[in-house]
């Protein structure tokens, strides 16, 4: 993208008698290009490393990170920041888990970053799940009232870097996590404190049905 724009700008400059100017322009361009080009190449390298490392994850988390199992979350298409935060929290034990802590400890921060880049670049697959339509309708209203400020657009987008996308996430996984949050076992969700006041268990459950009920290709 940067490269294409720069080439066009360069080629517009008229030719003869202005060699020093072209040289200067080329120098300025080279400097301007160096930073994003280096970042792009770093990202491409990280993506390649991430793809290789991600293969082991997919046996549980599904092809390209779209889970087929209710107990296991979809991680493909999740935000890079949230994946990074989660894996680091698993690694230092601040997020409760069974196997994930033992998995996360095997990776350096660079490798976790590469995994986050790879999975966040994949589509968030949303196969249809069994949900309760009535609960999902109630849940949508609760979502608008309590959750909408961070989990934007019905949970298909996010306002804060470290908040996960929720639309189409597996219902059983969402429930287990909400139980952990309600039990105070997830330090990171302090920011959910306000949202979880003046809300009933039924409303919470309905909201999870609302998120899980969204399927197919979403905007």
């Amino acid at each position: 993208m940067h490269r294409a724009t720069a080439t066009t700008a360069h080629s517009r400059r008229p030719g003869p008698g202005r060699g020093w100017c072209r040289c200067l322009a080329a120098g300025v361009l080279a400097i301007a290009l160096a930073a994003p080009a280096a970042a792009q190449s770093r990202r491409a390298k990280a993506l390649e490393l991430g793809e290789m490392l991600a293969q082991s994850c997919m046996a549980c988390h599904g092809t390209r990170g779209t889970s087929t199992q209710q107990a296991v979350p979809t991680i493909g298409g999740q935000t890079e920041a949230y994946l990074n935060t989660s894996m680091k929290a698993y690694r230092d034990g601040s997020r409760p888990s069974t196997i994930m802590e033992r998995i996360a400890k095997a990776y350096s921060s660079k490798e976790l970053g590469a995994l986050a880049i790879y999975f966040s670049s994949q589509p968030f697959g949303r196969p249809e799940q069994v949900t309760d339509a009535e609960k999902a309708t109630l849940g949508e209203a609760v979502h608008m009232r309590k959750c909408n400020r961070c989990h934007l657009h019905s949970g298909r987008d996010t306002n804060e870097a470290e908040s996960p996308l929720l639309a189409g996430q597996k219902l059983e996984y969402l429930r287990r996590n909400m139980d952990e949050i309600l039990a105070g076992r997830r330090a990171i969700e302090i920011k959910m404190d306000a949202a979880l006041r003046e809300i009933t268990r039924e409303e919470i459950d309905a909201t999870l049905h609302f998120y899980a009920s969204q399927h197919g290709a979403l905007n």
Partner: protein
């Protein structure tokens, strides 16, 4: 339009004429082709991963059976909380979703010079070859373990349906019967599954035939770390119903279900005899096994055979001092081999890789645990010294994950 049609007819003519000229070629080579032999946990995912990495490459998966009967989770059939049908898969979605071309048949020979395989129905040419031969059993290493004794004392170590047949034997056994399980010395396929099997048999006996007894005769002197986790609960849950005896290698067996170890001779009502193992038959026939005559030495970056250059070997058949043989490891090797082969085809450098081997087990119908090991494949294979480890104990949540793991890996390899 007309030119296109003529071209099509010409092609069709060529296809019709081809069998007359080269009668034996099953699928004439028209583009870059990778053939994968063996549709188990290593081969099926390797075929799919290659197609996902490079849709221009033709991938042919050669497999004996139209229905694959998987082993992970099959032990739960013994406990009575899984149907064997849940362990059966077909390959149709690998074809429809990923464009893998299935060829059902048995490879009889490999000609690495000509890059061609021989099957009963004809030959198959390739540019690159991956073989996933799995294991073969060595009944000849136990005296008397011929066809009759094998029928009387099944191993149930190569398919889920064999495990279902073992369950039937348990159902037909009288209450008060003696069940014997015999484990070989490592290396063999997924030792953890043997402990899981013992647990599932004990679970069944305790509920349905409580006067019966299970004796586990382990050729190894002591259990593995994961084995100790099982045993901590055996002594509590089963007391006298389940007894573990280490250092009891099966020396001899007969069709009357009598089994001899260095210490004693026992007669079981049901005998599950797991014999010593080696790389699958194809690996033996194709000269892929190493000096030990059992396993296939490979480069653990590319999985290229050290015995026959140009052939890649993945899964349980591979040699590796410290390598565990399991569905999880096979799955990881299949993917790494496929990605590195895709890299080579695209003229990029193969990459060393880190992978995990996870073995989930169920102790009964609800409590699970897992052992996890991380490996680095970089020419040689080594264990990482960070990450991994065994569950601290048995839990319901890991029971949920054990079932999810089986469901996930079966879905992943077949769709």
């Amino acid at each position: 339009m007309r030119a296109g049609r003529r071209h099509f007819l010409a092609l069709a003519g060529a296809a019709l004429a081809a069998p007359l000229v080269r009668a034996a070629e099953l699928m004439p080579l028209t583009k870059k082709r990778v053939v994968v032999v063996g549709g188990g946990f290593a081969g099926a995912i390797a075929a799919k991963t290659l197609r996902m990495a490079n849709a221009e490459v033709e991938v042919v998966l050669v497999e004996r059976n139209r229905i694959y009967s998987a082993l992970p989770g099959a032990n739960w059939v013994l406990g009575g909380h899984r149907r064997v049908g849940e362990n059966r898969l077909a390959y149709d979605r690998l074809e429809s979703l990923h464009g893998v071309r299935m060829l059902y048949g048995e490879v009889q020979a490999i000609d690495p010079g000509e890059r061609r395989l021989a099957l009963a129905a004809g030959t198959l040419a390739y540019d690159h070859l991956i073989v996933a031969p799995g294991i073969s059993l060595r009944p000849e290493e136990i005296e008397g373990y011929g066809a009759d004794a094998q029928a009387a004392c099944p191993h149930a170590w190569t398919s889920g349906d064999e495990v279902a047949a073992l369950r039937k034997q348990l159902e037909e056994m009288r209450d008060g019967g003696l069940v014997l399980m015999s484990l070989p010395l490592p290396p063999f396929r997924c030792p953890q599954a043997a402990y899981e099997r013992a647990s599932q048999i004990a679970w069944y006996l305790k509920r349905s035939k409580p006067r019966s007894k299970l004796i586990v005769l382990d050729a190894s002197p002591a259990p593995t770390q994961m084995g100790e986790l099982f045993m901590a609960r055996w002594s509590r849950d089963y007391k006298t119903l389940l007894e573990y005896r280490g250092g009891q290698k099966a020396l001899k067996v007969d069709a009357q279900r009598r089994l001899w170890t260095p210490a004693e001779a026992l007669r079981g009502d049901v005998v599950n005899l797991i014999p010593p193992q080696a790389a699958g038959e194809l690996a033996q026939k194709a000269g892929l096994v190493g000096d030990d005559k059992r396993w296939c030495p490979v480069d653990h970056t590319t999985y290229e055979s050290a015995q026959v250059p140009g052939i890649h070997v993945i899964g349980d058949a591979c040699a590796g001092d410290d390598m565990q043989r399991s569905a999880s490891a096979a799955n990881a090797q299949g993917k790494a081999c496929a990605l590195n082969l895709a890299a080579v085809i695209a003229r990029r450098k193969p990459q060393p890789h880190t992978y995990s081997n996870v073995c989930y087990s169920l102790l009964n119908e609800r409590e699970g645990a897992a052992s996890l090991v991380f490996y680095r494949g970089d020419g040689d294979l080594s264990r990482l010294d960070k990450g991994g480890g065994t569950s601290p104990g048995w839990s319901e949540i890991e029971g949920v994950y054990a079932r999810a793991w089986v469901g996930g890996i079966l879905d992943e390899m077949s769709s």
